[in-house]
């Protein structure tokens, strides 16, 4: 029976792949359709590069921002997936969209910048299935530890500060089931006896330990933030002083004059690698291809990297970064990306199959339930 279902699955996938290869990959980019609906992370459709895009192509950009991968997946599935053209999916959302048939294969020969993408991101497993590209890798970065330097004088070097009673009531962490991986990563260092090797592959006993840690953390948490701007508000008002963040919040807060610092603690960090993908039902496919080509240019790649605090996929962006902000190419590891890339545990969708061949890991719906238990 098992063999049969495996065979069935294989036939299905082959059918899907051949269909994708043969069918409707556009051979060229036609005239723009005048509009483009974008579903993106906060800060991913900035006026700095949206305005020039609109002028060059005549595609008017309509933006919708999200704060978590789950929200992004939900948004792209709403109304049968007809409400958007392009989406900036992180690795954990990308696979769900591919399997949910929410996104269509992309003809990379229409994306000139593809050749300049760092090798690790040309066909990563989260956006390329059996040789079919379902999107173009965009930018990537780590989830960082951020703190207010006025309130916390000694720079923390461990994630332990966000589990520390000394900071009760001023901690904030993302309201997101994937946050479980952050706690799992921390436990893999502090409690090696649990045997956590990959923070996204947790067995029930390992998950129980992680949930116990997160439940201890809950009384210390001021608020679980849902949108990046929520966390910015919390740090501005002083309600939060330390927490898990993206470099984007740290940059935004520093620009607003709030004394914050961010770091990758000694235990390492989880992170994201984002992909621009095109909706299966895109009403404006030409504008979608033009958008991807626009945001993959070294200039926009550099602008995005600097404003969000992440690393561009396009290796040619380095010079542009240094031209705008000297030393920034090195600061964001755009010069030696391969070594840095391997230190980050990138978001991926937890599935039943563990990496070690076992089938006793918890899938994502179990993660969502566990997160609800943590939040209560």
């Amino acid at each position: 029976m098992k063999g049969f279902s495996a065979l069935f699955l294989a036939t299905c996938c082959t059918a899907l792949v051949t269909q994708a290869r043969a069918a409707d990959l556009p051979a060229s980019i036609g005239k723009g359709e005048g509009d483009l609906s974008v579903v993106a992370w906060e800060g991913y459709a900035d006026d700095a590069w949206v305005k020039p895009f609109e002028q060059q192509t005549g595609c008017k950009v309509h933006r919708k921002y999200v704060g978590s991968s789950d929200e992004m997946v939900a948004l792209t599935r709403m109304g049968g997936g007809k409400g958007f053209d392009v989406v900036s999916a992180s690795g954990d959302a990308a696979l769900r969209m591919i399997f949910g048939k929410n996104v269509q294969p992309v003809n990379i020969s229409l994306i000139p910048a593809y050749a300049d993408i760092m090798p690790e991101l040309q066909e990563p497993s989260f956006n390329t299935v059996k040789g079919v590209h379902y999107g173009v890798s965009y930018e990537w970065g780590p989830n960082v530890l951020m703190w207010n330097t006025k309130a916390i004088k000694d720079a923390p070097t461990s994630w332990s500060v966000i589990y520390d009673k000394a900071h009760a009531g001023v901690i904030t962490v993302p309201d997101n089931p994937i946050q479980i991986a952050d706690a799992a990563l921390y436990l893999s260092h502090t409690k090696p006896e649990l045997g956590i090797s990959d923070p996204y592959e947790l067995t029930q006993p390992q998950m129980d330990a992680v949930v116990a840690l997160l439940k201890e953390q809950r009384p210390l948490v001021k608020k679980y933030w849902a949108l990046a701007s929520d966390e910015v508000d919390l740090f501005k008002s002083g309600d939060a002083q330390v927490g898990a963040a993206w470099p984007y919040q740290a940059n935004t807060l520093r620009a607003a004059g709030v004394p914050v610092q961010d770091t990758i603690p000694s235990e390492g960090a989880t992170g994201w690698a984002d992909t621009w993908m095109i909706s299966t039902h895109a009403a404006h496919p030409n504008c979608a291809y033009m958008w991807i080509n626009h945001v993959m240019t070294p200039k926009v790649q550099a602008q995005q990297a600097l404003s969000f605090g992440e690393t561009p996929a396009n290796t040619k962006a380095c010079a542009e970064m240094d031209a705008t902000q000297p030393g920034s190419c090195k600061q964001y590891h755009a010069d030696a990306s391969a070594a840095y890339f391997s230190t980050i545990k990138f978001w991926k969708t937890p599935v039943k199959q563990c990496g070690n061949g076992q089938n006793n890991c918890l899938d994502y719906s179990a993660w969502q339930r566990a997160w609800q238990q943590v939040k209560q």
Binding site: R77, V221, K222, S237, D239, S365, Q372
Partner: protein, 283 residues
């Protein structure tokens, strides 16, 4: 002949509203009930149309959802009681103590906040209760210790009480107004003290007003999710938040439907109780 025409006319008049209610209200409730027995594939997000009680099993066995339901119902009850206490003095003054011009002025003041966006008013409370907000600024100037209500259940209680107070005030005012002055005079003639008059005459006769107001304060608080999202903190999830995140974030509509069934049952039961206390008897 004319009688038949008349009947036809009545039916024609009733058909649009009843048709509307049946199709759009009962119809969607029915679909909600159905989908509570389905499941969702976590990877592809597709609905699996197989009958299962799994959603209800999780709701019953996982204590998380019991805690959330208890918190929701508890805060809704607390808000209702607080609003009744706060509404009484003002309602009494407006209904019995001031002249018609002053009454109109006070009623406008009560209704005034309802003319502005609810979101704006909730955000205003964030600015009041925040760490460096208005309230702490006052406390600091007065040399008092600072509060840290922001993003706690206390903040939720304060904001809910504020939001729904007008909805308790209005029915209470009209209930107190309707008490015949002759009854109060009679109580006085019989030698009742003002407190006795209140306890034995005014309060019992105002119960329908309080019941009507509590339908608003209790039921509306029960179904809320925006306020907990904006002013609540860690451990402030309402049933509505779980429903919202299952629909809008994790795309698990069957589970959301199952949990919202509990809301429907609680509100239905409360309506029956409120009806016994005369909440729906004439206006």
């Amino acid at each position: 002949m004319t009688g038949g025409r008349k009947l036809l006319g009545h039916v024609a008049l009733l058909l649009p509203p009843f048709g509307w209610l049946t199709v759009f209200y009962l119809g969607s409730l029915f679909i909600l009930l159905l989908s509570a027995f389905w499941q969702v594939d976590s990877m592809s997000g597709e609905m699996i149309h197989e009958w299962t009680l799994d959603n209800f099993r999780v709701l019953v066995t996982d204590e998380t959802y019991r805690i959330i339901a208890e918190r929701t119902i508890g805060i809704a009850a607390l808000v209702t009681v607080t609003d009744i206490i706060l509404a009484w003095p003002l309602a009494y003054v407006i209904a019995r103590k001031v002249g018609p011009r002053m009454k109109l002025f006070l009623l406008v003041l009560v209704a005034l906040p309802l003319w502005s966006s609810m979101l704006a008013r909730i955000y205003a409370w964030r600015l009041i209760l925040g760490h460096d907000g208005v309230l702490n600024w006052f406390l600091r100037s007065a040399g008092l210790p600072e509060q840290s209500f922001a993003f706690t259940n206390v903040a939720l209680w304060i904001v809910f009480t504020y939001l729904w107070l007008p909805f308790m005030l209005m029915p209470l005012i009209s209930a107190i107004e309707r008490i015949p002055a002759s009854l109060l005079d009679a109580a006085g003639d019989m030698g009742a003290t003002p407190f006795q008059t209140f306890r034995t005459v005014i309060f019992p006769l105002a119960i329908p007003g309080m019941a009507a107001g509590s339908v608003f304060t209790f039921a509306v608080t029960l179904g809320e999710y925006v306020t907990p999202m904006l002013v609540g903190g860690a451990g402030s999830e309402f049933i509505g938040n779980v429903v919202y995140s299952n629909v809008g974030v994790s795309g698990n509509i069957p589970f959301a439907a199952a949990f919202s069934m509990i809301l429907l049952v609680v509100i239905g039961a409360y309506m029956l109780v409120a009806r016994r206390f005369g909440a729906f008897d004439g206006a």
